[in-house]
Subunit: 304 residues, 2 copies
């Protein structure tokens, strides 16, 4: 079965993942905002560690009303725009459409499911370093694995097909048996390093080079793990050590939230911080440090 | 009994409190660092809400070896220099000298007592807005109350005389029955606002205007109160609300640590943050948020 894909938010993630699918022969319809004119005239350029490629003709749109209904919708925009999602997605739905939210954080699927009752929703986690360097021009620097998991998809065969399509397109992809577990697991790294690089106005390597912030990052990781445990997801404490070791070996890195801050864009505070704090709190565990970081980020966002 | 006073660290605090004593007729010997030449030639100028005054001739020194032994030594320098204190103080001691550490934080007296065994030590808490605006020129903006308490002073009569001397010099002064209680109580305000104005690079009014940081300040105050409780000091939770109300009514204010940060001076992290965290921890209470703020400040200090 050939899947007709739609990509909502064609930036660093959507441009790369959608572009890889197109290159592998899949039918992909891309929604653009400001880059629409440029891509219509010049196509999409992907410079990737897997090999550069240019797609001279892509199915580009600036208005969802012009797009066809899709079997699978890859949502690749920042969660700060998620309040707009239902309106953007409704015109693309048929009775069996599956929406995959390739976004960071916790609780995104629930919010969308509340707004679009009866619609099949999945989540996707991108382990990738990728930036949009200019209009229609993506720079894929490293990694790229995509983990997909069902939120309320009744027939997971379509997700298996999506995973197979990505694998055929040379994107490492896998199906998660437990989407919420995977989301919490990704937060173990995202929570300390996204927020701390913003509040300390620095990069991951400097946080790791200082004994105090290295210790703080580890403590915050353990807090997230304990929060996940309390919510019923059996993440192990040893995962924190693994993430610390990985970060020590990384090249200096500014996570996506730090880039948002630097470019004066809204930060993804709600789904990366507020929802995890709320969920852990509802389960009876106070994530003191994560909650404090959330409040510091809210202050910075309000005063930027 | 007339007391011979020595002032170590003649800046915003030492210049004001020592100057007020001199004006009231007390004998005060002042140790200066960089301002010595200026004060020897021009005297000390205090612009105060209590009335401006000029002291053309002050007993100024640049070297403790030149100073006489003193009955009471008022230590008014930043705690970041406390490792130098024993060497500075020893030449000024006679058998009954009392040292009063008019400094912020917790555990200062114990550290000095360990280094100067057998010497009488007290603590002082200054509730004052005062700045040094140039060499030998102090600007006293508001408040000024001095709370003095014994750490290991066997005969508290001398402290009573000191309090009376200050009162006679129009400085509101009182004796604390419980120095450690008073130090914890002052930390309830100092801990959230000194560090948070640095980490968020802002002033008290902006922290209070944002619902997230206002809430965080309150939570941190309660953490300090619970830390004090666990250490045996019966501070009440209602004191946090009182401090929040007071801060809401204050004019925009940059606490001393924020000024230290702005002027690239070392910050008083050890006695305002590390010691309270250690003391509460040793008593079995983890001050999560205070500990996090301490680590953030350590990072900022190391990377400034």
């Amino acid at each position: 079965m050939a899947i007709r894909y739609g990509v909502i938010g064609t930036g660093a993630l959507g441009g790369f993942y959608g572009g890889m699918l197109v290159r592998a022969g899949q039918e992909v319809h891309f929604l653009f905002r400001s880059d629409y004119e440029h891509v219509r005239e010049n196509g999409l350029q992907v410079d990737s560690v897997l090999g550069d490629f240019h797609l001279p003709k892509v199915k580009a749109y600036s208005d969802v009303a012009q797009m066809p209904v899709c079997d699978v919708i890859l949502v690749c925009m920042k969660t700060t725009g998620n309040h707009l999602l239902p309106g953007m997605i409704r015109p693309l739905l048929h009775s069996k459409t599956v929406i995959i939210l390739i976004q960071n954080g916790l609780g995104l699927e629930k919010d969308l499911a509340d707004q679009l009752p009866g619609v099949s929703i999945a989540g996707g986690l991108a382990f990738i370093c990728s930036n949009k360097v200019s209009a229609g021009h993506i720079h894929h620097l490293d990694y790229g694995k995509l983990t997909i998991g069902s939120y309320n998809v009744s027939d997971v065969n379509i997700l298996k097909t999506v995973v197979a399509d990505f694998q055929a397109a040379r994107v490492p992809a896998e199906l998660s048996e437990n989407l919420q577990f995977s989301r919490w697991q990704k937060l173990v790294w995202n929570i300390p390093f996204n927020g701390m690089t913003v509040v300390m106005n620095t990069t991951t390597d400097r946080l790791m080079a200082n004994e105090h912030t290295r210790q703080l990052a580890k403590e915050m990781m353990l807090e997230v793990i304990h929060g996940a445990n309390q919510c019923g997801y059996a993440l192990s404490e040893s995962f924190a050590l693994k993430m610390i070791d990985m970060t020590l070996q990384m090249t200096p890195y500014a996570p996506s939230m730090k880039l948002d801050y630097d470019y004066h864009r809204p930060m993804e505070i709600e789904y990366i911080y507020s929802k995890p704090v709320q969920n852990a709190g509802a389960a009876g565990f106070v994530m003191h440090k994560v909650a404090m970081l959330e409040k510091q980020l809210q202050f910075i966002q309000a005063n930027q």
